[in-house]
Amino acid sequence: MKLLAMEAKLHLRDWPTLMFSIGLPVGLLLILGLSIPSFTELQDTGERIVDTHMPSTMALLSLLTLSCSVLPAVLATYRQQGVLRRLSTTPVHPARVLGAQLLINLAVGTVATAVLIVAGWLAFGAAPPRQWGWFVLVFLLGTAAMMALGLVIAALAPSAKAAQGIGSLVMFPLMFLGGVWLPRELMPEPVRVVSDFSVAGPFAQALKDTWAGQPPQLIHLVVVAAGLVVFGAIAVRSFRWE
């Protein structure tokens, strides 16, 4: 418990990271929403871009940053510096640190998403996710899958620097495939097919659907769950403590 509190404290002390995981997505939502007129105009779909597309992709941005960049960087640094090794000389297994990191990143992602919801509501009168139950399920399932991918990165990276590099290399394509820059509806057919299987793509789509008040498509849930199983299995097999 104390370990979790300490890790949380250390995470909060690292404010540049918080800027990327909470400040940037929220800032983008507000700045783009307030400065680009078309973002607040009614689209063919019957809603504005700031209603569901913007907040759901910004939530994805935050979750991808946390899972693919922040989490592996911290774990690889701990391994490289011998923090995990030192812990293994005590009665506490280093797996506790890993657990604490997963919980903390999940918590930060949750806060970022909550702030996005509140900010969207205050700034644009955007409604909160209308399929609450499904939304929470999709959020947890997708975040778990992305974090499992982050653990794979942490496991395979030979050093802390490599973890950051590989993290970016994985994160940016996933952001693209998740529709952070180009909405999935506007993607050319072949790209959208790749996106459909990229785990981040169906995760983004399911987040958006549930935000807009529709239940998620089964196929999207299946792909995300499959991602969780595959990444999780690789991470468990390959993770090294030292």
Binding site: M6, T77, V83, R85, R86, T89, T90, P91, V92
Partner: protein, 301 residues
């Protein structure tokens, strides 16, 4: 009572036999040194003792526990200071102590422990802002925070300046005085000679010899040299008559006497008898380095 017993320890890494055959015993309350050149298998040996690595052969007991089977219990009786193991950059000194104390059922009073390693003034300092010596002292404090019966200190003073090194040695002696058995891994001859009650010399995965520092030196003959400038002429025969003396040579005004046993007192006593004062008296003894060289045919450092 033997608190650590290691018999025929063996550890194989892929493509490299790190420890071939290591046996030693450590008595409760002593400072036991594991001395050898880099790559001799010292660290691997203590890692197997501390349960950080699984041995491939032999038998290890620490306070009656098998590090392979009783990992959790072992961690409550054995504290380990690791070579090059760090903490998160932004953790404060007191936070690290408080956190690690919480891992043990009956931890030491950590503010007092910080005081003992002279880090009380650095309580609020971030780990990344500590000097090398301060990190090592914190590392020792963290190895002791669980009130272990045995503390393993691995390359404790590597990279420290001479002053910090002497301070750390004093700290180790203080810790021993509180009843903690200490296993000290080092490749510094001087450190082993100064601190250890007994030493195992390890070379290429095997124990070359185990004895007290003086015993190890004596094993290799232990010839000493006494060098001085006599205040008045003195005959070689006076010195050669002493049973301790083997050889007397002169270089200019200097006399060099070689021999064994209580050479220096015997020589100065004989000189005093003839009203001769030895000026610029120097005593050169064989060192652990010489012992290591004689026992393994290799230089220690």
């Amino acid at each position: 009572m033997k608190i650590i017993e290691v018999r025929n320890l063996r550890k194989q890494y892929p493509g490299h036999l790190a420890v071939e055959d290591v046996s030693f015993e450590v008595a409760e309350g002593e400072i036991f040194g594991i001395l050898g050149p880099n790559g001799a298998g010292k660290t691997t040996t203590v890692e197997c003792v501390a349960g950080l690595r699984r041995r491939d052969g032999g038998d290890v007991r620490v306070a009656g526990l098998d590090p392979r089977e009783d990992r959790d219990e072992l961690r409550r009786v054995l504290g380990m200071q690791l070579q090059s193991a760090a903490l998160p950059d932004k953790i404060k000194v007191w936070e690290a102590m408080d956190l690690y104390a919480s891992f043990y059922p009956d931890p030491a009073d950590w503010p007092e422990l910080l005081d003992r390693v002279s880090l009380s003034a650095k309580r609020e300092t971030l780990f990344k802002d500590l000097s090398g010596g301060q990190r090592q002292r914190l590392s020792v404090a963290m190895a002791l925070v669980g009130r272990p019966r045995v503390a393993v200190l691995d390359e404790l003073t590597t990279g420290l300046d001479p002053q910090a090194r002497r301070d750390t040695w004093e700290l180790v002696e203080q810790v021993r005085d509180t009843g903690v058995t200490i296993v000290l891994v080092t490749h510094f001859m001087e450190e082993a000679e100064r601190l250890c009650d007994r030493i195992a010399l390890i070379d290429a995965g095997k124990v070359a010899a185990t004895d007290t520092p003086a015993g190890l030196i004596a094993q290799v003959g232990g010839e000493q040299k006494v060098r001085f400038r006599p205040s008045a002429p003195v005959d070689d025969a006076v010195l050669l008559a002493l049973p301790e003396v083997r050889e007397v040579t002169r270089t200019g005004p200097q006399i060099v006497v070689r021999g064994t046993g209580n050479l220096a007192p015997a020589v100065t006593l004989a000189l005093a008898h003839h009203q001769v004062v030895p000026a610029d008296l120097r005593i050169e003894q064989a060192t652990l380095d010489d012992a290591f060289l004689a026992l393994t045919g290799r230089k220690l450092s």
